[in-house]
Every structure is written in structure tokens, then in C-alpha cells.
């Protein structure tokens, strides 16, 4: 029988306390505030009303929700479809070139949404970017700014999430047993088909989980839609921030965030359950 170790448990109280108070605490309190009443002069008044949730059931929030889901789904699909093959090729390169790519990707992952968004704003602007270049080349007679637009927003989102997906797959693809692909070749698979016949099926669970992760990630982006999208492209995150900060309606912002939280938790939980079932089979 092992003696109960006191010291590690005491040390454990520190991360446990910090995460409980400053991570779970705010989430729990957000749920509480979502039932409060708005106070136009301060933050909120203590109360218990369903009014904030009631507002969600309107055609405006319905279309914002659908748009958020659709945009996130499209962006996550595009990102994974680009990042997975790219990293697959990169891990086959020499270590020196891998390092160049990894530093570049890490830099992009760390770089502010604001900075990446700003860079795309410039690149798509009439005065300094692609439209100007096309106009100068004579390919576009009347060059006009490409942003804000839905396409600009999607491009911004993909370039924001690309590094994240790429770095998630980097260890898995780097450590994979390459002999499996060689085995497929010796058994008669043409090299061009090995990727689809063997690599993709093996990574199917990992691809699915990265799609879900990125979907959730894109659900919460704020800067790209505001910088590169038009008001009719804005997602739920922008609306929440707008309500909570600009319109000083914290209870409504909190209620909307709680709805998104429930949706996210259900999605992740459902996905985890589905993969467990698949694993048991």
C-alpha cells in the first residue's frame, strides 16, 4: 500500500485553484449574469429574468447563428484541406527546411489576428494591394477594393487557422510509420494513389477531430469578420461583443455567450462520444 503523498496534492491545489477561480469561475458567473437585468447606467442589476434568452429567438439571431455555423464549417474545411497535405509534404523535407517552415508557422500562429487582418486589408486594398497590381497590369480596368467582403473574410480566417492545423498535424505526420506507405506500394498501389488509399484513411479520426476543433475556433473569431467582412457577414462573436461592450448590455452578451457555450460543449461532447463508439467497434 502506497503512502498518501501530501506534497503533490498541495502543489496541485495551485493549478486547481487558479483554473477553478479564473477559468470556471468566470464561465459560471457568466451564466448567472445572463439572467440579470440590463442597467443602462452601470453593468447590470441583480434579477432573474429569461428575457435575455428570449431575445435569441428572433429572425435576426437565427440568421446570425446559421451564418456563423456555415462560415465556420466552410473555413475549417478549407483550412484542413490545405494544411494537411502541406504538412504531409513538409515533413518529408530536410530538417533545415522543416525548421524554416515551422518557425514561419509558429510565427503566424502567435501573430495577432489584428496584424494578420490588417495585412490582408492592405493586400486587398485599392491603393496598395492586388487590385492595384491587376489594374497596373491592365487585367482589371476599374480596380476596386476586394475587402470588406465575404471572400476576404474567409481568406483572412483560413490564413489565421492554417498555422494552427498545420502545427497540430506536424507531430503526427512526422512520427508516422512511413513503412506503411512503402508496404502499400510493394502490394501494388501506384505512388500517386498512396496518399488517398492509405494516408487519408489512417488519419481519418485525426482529420475529423481537427475539423471539429477548427469549427469551434472559427465560431469564436472576432477580428477577421470586423476587419475584412461587411456587417452582413458578421458572426455571433461580433454580435456578442457589440452587445456587451458597444451597447453596454452585458446580460444579453452573456446570454448569447452561454448559448454558444452550450452549443460548443454539446458539439465536442457528441464528437467525443461518436469517436468512442467508433473505437469500441
Amino acid at each position: 500500500m502506497k503512502r498518501f503523498a501530501i506534497a503533490p496534492h498541495l502543489i496541485g491545489l495551485y493549478p486547481l485553484g487558479m483554473m477553478t477561480i479564473f477559468f470556471l469561475g468566470p464561465l459560471a458567473f457568466m451564466v448567472v449574469v445572463s439572467f440579470y437585468l440590463r442597467d443602462p447606467l452601470g453593468f447590470y442589476k441583480v434579477d432573474f429574468v429569461w428575457e435575455n434568452y428570449g431575445k435569441f429567438f428572433s429572425s435576426f439571431y437565427y440568421s446570425v447563428s446559421l451564418r456563423s455555423i456555415w462560415t465556420s464549417a466552410l473555413a475549417s474545411l478549407l483550412t484542413v484541406a490545405l494544411a494537411f497535405p502541406a504538412i504531409f509534404i513538409i515533413v518529408g523535407m530536410r530538417r533545415k527546411w522543416q525548421l524554416v517552415w515551422v518557425i514561419g508557422l509558429l510565427a503566424l500562429m502567435c501573430l495577432s489576428e489584428v496584424v494578420i487582418g490588417f495585412a490582408w486589408v492592405i493586400l486587398m486594398s485599392e491603393s496598395a494591394g492586388i487590385p492595384r497590381l491587376l489594374g497596373w497590369l491592365g487585367l482589371w480596368e476599374n480596380p476596386r477594393s476586394l475587402s470588406p467582403s465575404r471572400l476576404a473574410m474567409l481568406i483572412g480566417m483560413v490564413s489565421l487557422g492554417f498555422s494552427l492545423v498545420a502545427l497540430m498535424f506536424y507531430p503526427q505526420l512526422s512520427q508516422r510509420d512511413r513503412a506503411i506507405e512503402e508496404a502499400a506500394q510493394t502490394l501494388g498501389t501506384p505512388p500517386a494513389k498512396v496518399f488517398f488509399k492509405v494516408v487519408l484513411p489512417i488519419f481519418r479520426p485525426a482529420l475529423a477531430s481537427s475539423l471539429v476543433t477548427m469549427f469551434v475556433f472559427y465560431l469564436g473569431v472576432y477580428v477577421m469578420p470586423t476587419m475584412l467582412g461587411r456587417p452582413q457577414d458578421w458572426n455571433m462573436s461580433v454580435i456578442i461583443t457589440d452587445k456587451a461592450v458597444e451597447q453596454a448590455n452585458m446580460p444579453l452578451g452573456a446570454a448569447l455567450a452561454v448559448i454558444m457555450l452550450v452549443f460548443t460543449v454539446l458539439l465536442i461532447g457528441g464528437f467525443a462520444l461518436a469517436t468512442r463508439k467508433e473505437g469500441a467497434k
Binding site: 510509420d177 513503412a179 506503411i180 512503402e182 508496404a183 502499400a184 506500394q185 510493394t186 502490394l187 501494388g188 498501389t189 501506384p190 505512388p191 488509399k197 492509405v198 484513411p201 489512417i202 481519418r204
Partner: protein, 349 residues
Amino acid sequence: MAQVSFNRIRRTYGEFTALDDVNLGIESGEFICLLGPSGCGKTTLLRILAGLEQPTAGDILVDGADFGAVPCHRRNIGMVFQSLALFPHLSVGENIAYGLDVRGVAKEQRRARADELTELVGLPGLYDRPVSALSGGQRQRVAIARALAIEPVLFLMDEPFSALDAGLREHLQIEVKKLQRKLGVTTIFVTHDQNEAMSIADRIVILNGGVIEQAGTPTEVYARPRSEFVANFVGTNNVLEVEFTPGADVMWNGISLGRPTGDMASLHGRRKLSIRPEYLQLAPAGTTGTGMVGTVEFVRLLGAQIETELTVSGHTIIDTMISDRPPAFGEGDTAEILINLDHAWVIPS
């Protein structure tokens, strides 16, 4: 069943030469072991034959036809990889039937063939089992069945048993050998374990530093090593640098080893003599009058044999004898070493 011939195969990686002018012919139905220390080029040679790597120079003929231009997936080769490389997303049966699937064989026929092979390798009824649920030995068998399912012209194995424990490894070695005899498929097996090579190969090809040191039957490489490397690499051995003078005794460090007879009698000059430990005999000091006297450094029991390590003027000599009685010598004892030159082999220089 196919004949293979490697002609002047060379493979370099930048400055490093993995294979240097390798020539080797393999008969149809032969079981060949490529044996050597790590980095000797044995795996590279196998991968070149499989088409997974291209030689820098030289060509490969299979049944007289040039194999070099044939891409890997058209070579019709069965290969068992060191990591086995089973497809983790497929079941046992789907793994075995994979090669037939890519060849467009109909589903029922694939199933029938996979069942036949699971039977052959001793895994009946496991068609639907996921490969992750198999034991180490079972996974080996799936890998072997998968490679054989396509009726390959050549069967290649790259250190397939290196991750298994000794008992299971021996068991599978015997099984593979029996299976190969039954099917008659030309087989090339890469290993760094000389016992494994000795026990399964028809012919052993010993590589060192990218060069073939010797190719021969297990008996040949053991009894008549062509180089000092082979003499030391295969089995335990004593390699002594001796001086031959026609009409006089063979001398080693000023000690007489006796008068040579037969072919050895006409030799002269410095040569390397290989003499296996089992052909040495030990006697108590002062009983035989031989000049070769050693001090016992270490004695150990190896099951059927007793191995005694002695030093004679700074050189280590190993002796083995049948362990039908307790060791006659202990550490620190002095013993006389008797050499029978009829069992010694002069390494060609």
C-alpha cells in the same frame, strides 16, 4: 519463382557509400539471408530490389529481364517490413486482401484467398479482427500472409523478428522456413543475427561496409570464412596471426603450434589462422609439454557447453567443451592449450 542477379550495384548518399560494386546471383527457390552489422548496406540492397530505392549505378535482372525501370508497385514483390507496417485502419482479412483489392480482384475471391492465407499462417477465423487487437506473433503472421497473398515472384523480409522475444522468434524462424519450402518462393531475408541466418538460410550473404565479404552455405561461412571479418562475425572464433615456414612448425608469438600437414605444409609467410573454440583442448599444466600455456580468466556455462576464456601472453583465447562434467579449471588456474591443426582454417589473404 524467380532468379535474381545483381550486377555491379552501387548506392551512395552524398559522401557515404552504402553499397559498393555488389554482384550476387540468387537461384530460383533459394532462401538467402543478407547478414551483417547495422549500416552494412543489407537493408539498402533489399530496398533496391523492392524498388523503394534506386541504385546509383548497376542493374538488377529478374528471370533475365531488367528490373530497374519497373516501378515498385508493378514488381509483384511480397515484403515484410521491420515495423510490419500493417494498415491500422483495416481488419486482419482486409490487410491480407489489400494487394488483391488494388489489383481489382472480386470481393468473394479476395475473401476466399484471405481465408486460405489466414489458414496457412495459423490464424484461422480472425478475418474480421482489428489488427490492433493482435499479439506480437499474430501481427507477424498477418504481415507474412499479406505479403504472400499476391503470389509474389520474390518474398522479402527486413529483420521481421527483431522485436520479438527469443522463444517466439525461434518458433517463427522455423515456421517461415517450412512455409518457404512448401511454397518454393525465392526468399531474401535481412538480419543482423548470425544465429537466425545460420538456422534458416540456404545461403548466407555477409555484407560489411557496403561490400559482400562472403556468400555461401551456413557450413561454408562457418567452417571456411573467406575473410577475417567473416571469421569473427559468424560464431565465436580464435583468429591467430601465425608464421608458416615449409618444413618447420607453425609459430605464433614464439610458440609452436605443431607441424602442418596437407595443403598447409607448403605455405610460408605470415597468415591468419581461424580455429574454432570447440577444436581446442585444455590440459592441466605440465601434463602435455605443449608450449601454449594460458591463464584462465573467466569460465561460464552455456547450457550444453562450457566456455573458458584464457590469456596467453596478452592474447585472449576462447575454448569450449561439452558440459558433461563440471568445469575442470577455475579462474586464475594455468592450463595448457592443445591445438589440432587439421581443424584450423587459413583465412585467404
